[in-house]
Symmetry: C2
């Protein structure tokens, strides 16, 4: 399963707002089309956003070549537009920065555009390799039989392929472990009920969807062996921004003595931010909460707050699983070591 | 605002599955119609279910009189049918038991049916009085300015009138306190987004709807001064069964040092159960999770678990607000005192 495809100057984006009932591919040929797909959450998930944005830069460069414009200017415009789409996931800025660095040395013309295209393709390929390594490291933390609770979608659809937290579940299954998954439906976009459940059905892994607020009750019953989630940004001390609801899960897991793991590539780490309080949290349109499946739920005159992410302090996290290994508490030291390249 | 009306041998039920966008009244003239309205959550909320069931018994008795059947047999059948509708809220069984006791001494014929009718009317009237007393006691716990988080709907729509937890918020407002409410949308039925938000808009109280999993993030920001919820059953030690999600809220409130209050009439207390583990928890149709507003969210082949309630241990509850006063920890002792009539 893939969320993105690159096909001869066209970025194919599987429209995740339509899944699982419809498989509709968007054909993006401009920076603006890619930017709007990211804003509209047609492609989502920190690593997938990064990959999509990289190809958005390529499209900007290719259109510039066609139109006889300078690539360097076009890349600058593309980066500015794409960087303004969503603020929380740092993979977006990481990928744009990587493309900018290549653009700086690539020069102008068709060959420069081709070099940018190769960089984006490398970035996409690497993401899958990175995820498979995360999966292998993470699978070591999964018992032979495990009932795993996860939130949002962190699978193939959230990445170039394979997934982060869901990649760990995939890897555990590939190693012959008996895994069952509690799938938080993940309001307001239902990424769990729509996307994670879809991936699990396709993989033949047993999954059971629950409303987000059911998780704590299952923990109390002893039906959850561990929690594993992804991340949109990890601060220098190990604090994690992730899909809204992650923080409450981490509190509940700690209250019940259940391990709480975060799986994320090093491209999700942001050493420039001392702690999670500095991570910008996206506030989205309240209508995305007030309306469900196109139907208004709330009465006229009602208002809503739509925070897309929350921050989980490192003190509630039992392990950060990266492609370079598993970081254990004290996480501030472990993350510093990772950022210095010691892991 | 009223959820129920009694009009000349007919129980009027405001269909809460249609609110807030449509005000549709069901006209129930048989036990079966009332039972199906309770099962289908067209009337919901522990006290409102109790009142509706009491009138269901009256309808059974009235139909028996019309058909020349014995009231005692009809009441027995009505109680059996209504008791099988929903297992968790004890007010249902409390109300049915009260009606049965009256039936035992009322004899047969038109006057006996009238006596049952007067009992149900008294029960409805008392529920409003009880709620207003809960409101007054509870308002003492609310600071002059308070941002209050609540879950599900515990207002006029969940009771005969006024409400329990929402009644406390109403009473605080009536006393001139400045209250703002964070309204958990309350999946899967959106009682918060649909019903609580509706009552708040009508009262002119500021309310903001959030997805259920947003609550902990708001607590971390310092934006929640207290949490107040209702109850479907309180065990002898003070453990509380309430709408799914309550338990996770209580854990998060404790983690942040935020007071967590439960408002419930004494009719919600069940002295026969030693603790919350003995409270039967309703498991409802998974399709109520898999479909939203008539639209299937999950992929073919996906399954769900739909627990309608969870249990919050008394250790996480800072006060139980009843019509007889506020119970404080240690709650097992306080509840025992209440049940012995010492409060």
């Amino acid at each position: 399963m893939r969320a993105l495809g690159w096909n001869d100057g066209e970025l194919l984006i599987l429209d995740q707002t339509r899944l699982p009932l419809e498989e509709r591919w968007l054909h993006c040929r401009t920076v603006e089309e890619v930017a709007e797909a990211i804003e509209g959450m047609r492609v989502r998930g920190a690593p997938a956003i990064g990959v999509a944005a990289a190809f958005g830069v390529v499209l900007g460069a290719q259109r510039a070549v066609e139109q006889g414009r300078r690539i360097s200017a076009a890349v600058g415009e593309a980066v500015a537009r794409l960087a303004a789409t969503r603020p929380t996931a740092v993979n977006l800025f990481w990928a744009l920065s990587r493309m900018e660095k290549v653009a700086e040395v690539a020069g102008e013309g068709r060959e420069a555009a081709a070099r940018l295209e190769r960089e984006a393709e490398a970035l996409m390929r690497e993401d899958e390799q990175v995820n498979r390594r995360i999966g292998r490291w993470g699978a070591e933390l999964i018992p032979q039989r495990a009932r795993i609770l996860t939130h949002c979608n962190t699978g193939a659809l959230a990445t170039a392929a394979y997934g982060t937290a869901l990649g760990v579940i995939r890897a555990a299954r590939e190693e012959g472990k008996e895994v069952e998954v509690w799938v938080d439906e993940t309001r307001p976009f239902f990424q769990g009920a729509r996307l994670t459940a879809y991936e699990l059905v396709q993989e033949g892994i047993k999954g059971t969807i629950i409303t987000d607020s059911t998780a704590a009750a299952l923990m109390a019953k002893g039906w959850v062996d561990l929690v594993i989630v992804g991340a949109d940004r990890v601060a220098a001390n190990g604090d994690v921004a992730n899909k809204i609801g992650t923080y409450g899960l981490a509190i509940a897991a700690r209250y019940h003595g259940i391990p709480f793991y975060v799986a994320a590539p090093t491209s999700t780490f942001d050493g420039s931010l001392a702690d999670g309080r500095a991570i910008p949290i996206e506030e989205r349109n309240p209508n995305e909460v007030l309306q469900v499946a196109g139907v208004r739920m709330a009465p006229p005159g009602a208002s809503a707050l739509h925070l897309a992410f929350d921050v989980t302090p490192h003190s509630l996290i039992d392990a950060l699983i990266t492609e370079k290994g598993v970081l254990r508490p004290p996480l501030p030291d472990a993350v510093q070591g990772l950022l210095r390249g010691e892991t």
